[in-house]
């Protein structure tokens, strides 16, 4: 990675880091894994269509959408964590920071590169859905998945940077993601008719509500039913994506905070 002297304050250094991060992703096993995921999901959806007695097309679209979404998120998180951990172990981070580049520019460059890799992954995963869904609905799904993978990249980079251990970082990212996707259902259960009114029950509801305030609403985006029943109105979609964008900024800020304080 060549940096000209005095490039620390220039945004171009951030883009240079992003470019090399993207090149690293393209030269890794990520493209092959993405292709394998697409083939596996196409095979599985073909099998499901054979055993379905009705709604075969809807089954293929919804199951493929859900599986490809999970694959995109997992591949992004695993790639980001592996890349960041390897860089730390190989002392590549120290080498990069010895160059005239500021810590925020380096961190944001890495994040931008990973987000671009996630967007490419979202594009590759959206294409097979053209077999079963309308292009307009797939476009909404694609934009949403690209935003979701960017958020996951930010979460994985933050945890990999803060925890410095591969398994811990992947587990923390997966925990945040699964909670983000299920928190609405958990809240609905907490206030359901079977929930009691005792103090522990109320305390549990407060904890759940407080947790919900700290989590992104991932259940509201990249939904498989958009591919069946149509994407939500533009305003609703923009609101959901703005929520993800805001959380992405929060994670980036948390990562920058931690990265700026770290002794290297």
């Amino acid at each position: 990675m060549k940096m000209s002297p005095g490039s620390a304050s220039r945004p171009s250094s951030c883009f240079t880091v992003a470019r090399y991060t993207l090149v690293e992703a393209l030269r890794s096993g990520l493209p092959w894994l993405a292709a394998a995921c697409v083939l596996a999901v196409l095979g599985l959806s073909g099998f499901l269509s054979q055993v379905a007695i009705t709604e075969a097309r809807a089954l293929q679209a919804s199951a493929s959408g859900a599986l490809l979404r999970a694959c995109a998120v997992f591949l992004t998180a695993a790639h980001v964590v592996a890349s960041a951990t390897r860089e730390a172990n190989d002392k590549g981070l120290e080498l990069a920071l010895a160059m005239p580049i500021s810590r925020p520019a380096y961190y944001l460059g890495k994040l931008l590169g990973f987000a671009c890799a996630g967007a490419l992954l979202a594009t590759v995963f959206a294409l097979p859905l053209l077999l079963w869904a309308r292009p307009g609905d797939i476009a909404a799904w694609w934009v949403s998945l690209a935003t979701e993978t960017a958020l996951i990249a930010a979460a994985a980079l933050f945890f990999a940077s803060a925890l410095t251990q591969t398994v811990a970082a992947i587990a923390a990212t997966a925990g945040l993601y699964l909670l983000g996707r299920s928190i609405s259902a958990i809240q609905a259960i907490a206030v359901g008719p079977l929930a009691g009114d005792s103090l522990p029950d109320q305390a549990m509801r407060w904890v759940v509500d407080a947790l919900a305030l700290l989590l992104p609403r991932l259940d509201a985006v990249t939904r498989g039913d958009w591919l069946l029943y149509g994407a939500p109105p533009v305003g609703e979609l923009a609101q959901a994506l703005a929520g993800l964008g805001l959380y992405l900024v929060l994670l980036a800020a948390a990562g920058l905070f931690d990265f700026s304080r770290r002794n290297l």
Partner: protein, 248 residues
């Protein structure tokens, strides 16, 4: 990408023979064991109690459409193995209805649960079980008549021809006429109740209903209208004949 594909491995001859034998033996035993166990569809007794709808929604993690359809694929495998003389007959239908209800609630726009209920589970040769499923279809119909009328129409046909329960068939047909008012509905579904009333020998009611259908002007096709008018005239003739018969 080339880095990923490049191989820096030693040749196969570098692997000790006993390790290669162990690998081959392990693979062979695994395949033999799985072959011996075979694969069978789950039996009727394996069907677990249906979870609450909230639990299914939690499990879907924001993908209710996919979960509902995959759950239907999973559900239809129970008691469906090829060696069954009558598939689905051993199933606990109360438990089955609970599952169908929970899956339908997970994605109310899916037609799969009601389609499977009317075309598969209601076809079982056990009147008690058929009635349970037909009741389920009728219960769920009112929530979305435009989307769900085909299942109730099939339920009416099953009630009429399979159960010989004309009262039940008429109840379903009446629900379709009253609640499913979409213009895209075919003629046969709209006038199903008329035919059932004819079969029940309630010709006067059938005549009034047919007249009502014509008067409502919901027929956009002139052929449909002509057919119904002919049918109404035929009913009037039969009624006239029926009234004259006791006087003879």
């Amino acid at each position: 990408m080339t880095d990923f594909l490049s191989s820096r491995e030693r040749p196969l001859s570098a692997v000790p023979a006993w390790i290669a034998c162990l690998l081959a033996l392990g693979l062979g035993m695994q395949v033999a064991l799985q072959f011996a166990q075979g694969s069978r569809a789950p039996s009727a007794a394996d069907l677990p109690i249906a979870p609450p709808v909230q639990a299914l929604r939690l499990a879907s993690m924001g993908e209710p459409a996919a979960l509902a359809r995959l759950a239907m694929i999973w559900l239809q495998a129970f008691d469906s193995s090829g060696d069954n003389v009558v598939p689905y007959r051993q199933l606990d239908y109360k438990r089955l209805v609970d599952w169908l209800r929970a899956i339908l609630a997970t994605d109310p726009r899916s037609e799969y649960p009601l389609f499977a209920a009317s075309r598969i589970y209601a076809e079982v040769a056990d009147p008690v079980k058929t009635r349970l499923i037909l009741d389920f279809i009728a219960d769920e119909f009112a929530a979305d008549p435009t989307r769900r009328w085909p299942a109730l129409a099939h339920a009416a046909l099953l009630a009429k021809h399979r159960l010989k329960d004309l009262t039940r068939a008429r109840r379903y047909a009446a629900a379709i006429r009253q609640l499913a008012t979409d213009d895209s509905m075919p003629l046969w579904a709209k006038q199903m109740e008329v035919f059932i009333l004819e079969d029940m020998n309630e010709l006067e009611a059938a005549k009034i209903m047919l007249g009502g259908l014509l008067a409502a002007g919901r027929m956009s096709d002139p052929e449909e209208r002509r057919f119904l008018e002919g049918r109404l005239e035929e009913l009037k003739q039969r009624l006239k004949g029926a009234r004259q018969a006791p006087n003879r």
